[in-house]
Symmetry: C2
Subunit: 417 residues, 2 copies
Amino acid sequence: MSLPVSPLAPAAFPQMPALTGVTFAAHACGIRYKNRDDLLLMVLPANTTAAGVFTRSKCPSAPVDWCREALKKGKARARAVLVNAGNANAFTGEVGAASVARTVAKAAEVIGCAPEHVFVSSTGTIGEPLPDARITENLDTVFAKAMAGGDESGDWQKAAAAIMTTDTFPKGATRQATIDGVTVTINGIAKGSGMIAPDMATMLSYVVTDAALPADVLQALLTKATDKTFNCITVDSDTSTSDTLLLFATGTAGNKPVKDAADKRLKAFKAALTEVLLDLAQQVARDGEGASKFIEVRVTGAESARAAKRIAMTIADSPLVKTAIAGEDANWGRIVMAVGKAGEKADRDRLAIRIGGVEVAAKGRAVEGYDETPVVAHMKGKEIVLEVDIGLGKGKATVWTCDLTHGYIDINGSYRT
Amino acid sequence: MSLPVSPLAPAAFPQMPALTGVTFAAHACGIRYKNRDDLLLMVLPANTTAAGVFTRSKCPSAPVDWCREALKKGKARARAVLVNAGNANAFTGEVGAASVARTVAKAAEVIGCAPEHVFVSSTGTIGEPLPDARITENLDTVFAKAMAGGDESGDWQKAAAAIMTTDTFPKGATRQATIDGVTVTINGIAKGSGMIAPDMATMLSYVVTDAALPADVLQALLTKATDKTFNCITVDSDTSTSDTLLLFATGTAGNKPVKDAADKRLKAFKAALTEVLLDLAQQVARDGEGASKFIEVRVTGAESARAAKRIAMTIADSPLVKTAIAGEDANWGRIVMAVGKAGEKADRDRLAIRIGGVEVAAKGRAVEGYDETPVVAHMKGKEIVLEVDIGLGKGKATVWTCDLTHGYIDINGSYRT
């Protein structure tokens, strides 16, 4: 099963600067896939701080349970990240937790660190016990590879490719900023394309900066930036049991640590972090299963920012809106329907809708005689912009998604085996 | 555009007993469709009481606004129902409200009743002004037809067909019960197949009983029965601007009016009403756009009935669950995913899942070596039953939906024109 690369993929994987002391290796362990890397080990320097954001699912996977606990127990320090593709180790009961414990113990032994400084993720089939021996028996080799700085070392593209499941392209992003005059780098990779597509998919992302930042500051920055980025994308409204976003700060850039997340010296860093997360998040939406169009939904004039986001997400999640866009139909009636169903305050007679910048409806009705030509041309493109003004207040939000096509049904309606 | 009849349709339209004084006519007004009935006028006897349940959309159509207001202003009395197909008169601003006013005024004049005793619904394209003259100029003829007791009179199937949009079959249901020893009949028709499918669809239902029931009792019974029936179905999670369910009681059966909805003498009537609504609601799900399988989702063991319903609806609305069923894949991992995303209390390690009566997962993991043969056979059938026990409490709920197929994309991704 090899899917064609999404027509919405970026032209190329970005050039990522090396980060001092950060080394990694990908390896083919045969967990499920044959003849491809399916394990990523990233080793981080001592004193690296960590922050995490996880799925809101009430049925999280065993690795998510572990990461949440490790962040607390290990006081938000990290020495390694271990990610496998092909098996999610989700809904595997006690067996799943035992797998995590064995994997983490072996990694900690090889690296020489506390188990709670090892973060793990698994993505792939749900409900099947993870064959963790295939990971542990390879860990000596993988660690040696990482430390040798062999051909994989520093190769972020290879790292991003090792954690793919139904993704059609590896996802990476990088930005630089200064803190107190010191240049720092932020590198990130991600995977994800549907929520748990043909039994495998999930959103995982690992972001590393060489900035020196206390763990509590890191967590505050990550939580805030996630809200405007990864929490603003949707493919099919489904939520994985395994979503994991981890941010690590190694401190090797040598800036003076800033102790308050609100400190103005972090302004440029915050902006760069948000850009990295947004870039990665949008790549996930661009790789949405079966996607043929990338959709930006901008809502303005809502009662509050929260209301705006809920309305925007309701539009982005509506199967009727998404199928209309797949059919290149500027069907704004469905946008009205979605606004109405969102449950937030709205006044039909104040709504205004723009498609590709052209106002098609205002004051509760169609704009008479609007020029359809640019709208039709916009709908035939790959990048669709929908704007809705609620006309009530100042709340605004922007979210991103993709269309709903036959490809989605093909990918998700097929047998697992 | 003529869609093939859903493979999930009932064998035949039911035989509906005549109701004294209830007369109606269907007519081809050419509102949008050519050469088919697109208008239904139902005339009800004097002193008929009325109750209604409407869309929760914050952007309701002009006819929904009217019906809500008419129920209040007319003290929940009704003399007529007028429904057109082809144009929803939704998101039409003041022009839409004016259309309703003209239509209602003409109907009231023809029938000789107060305007607020005329209930109207429109279903079809959103955002286009309703050509109401095509209705008003035909109303004398339609009323004469209804009163003549011509060939349409009493033909509930013709009435149900006149209000169809993307429906592939007309929907009707009938039951009888006794109140205080007097036999009463409940007849209902409905339309609906997606939420506002290719710009047209919506759920409309009109139910008439010859029982004598005060309006407040009627409203209480309707609200309660709706919660277990029409509010337990979903096709694509999208909500129409026009959903309308009206219940009328003519009183011609001659039972002694019961003044309290909690009165035990209404027990059989309540059960029969719920059966009629459930029958109609399930027919709507069976006619879901592109549906190839009818799905019953039963949730037990939730913290509360409300939690159970929310979990059940989340499963029923999940594109990943629905595409898996379309693919005949007993993919219970996606059911776990949906339970997790519902936001209600759940403990992964207490969940149990049955598909077609066979336990496939329990205590947070797959049931080892369960017999797949009956499960595979069940998935190949047209009637799918998913059972989820949350293992926490006594809350339970059952909801109904259909699968998500290429047919849905075909119907909803096509151009309006």
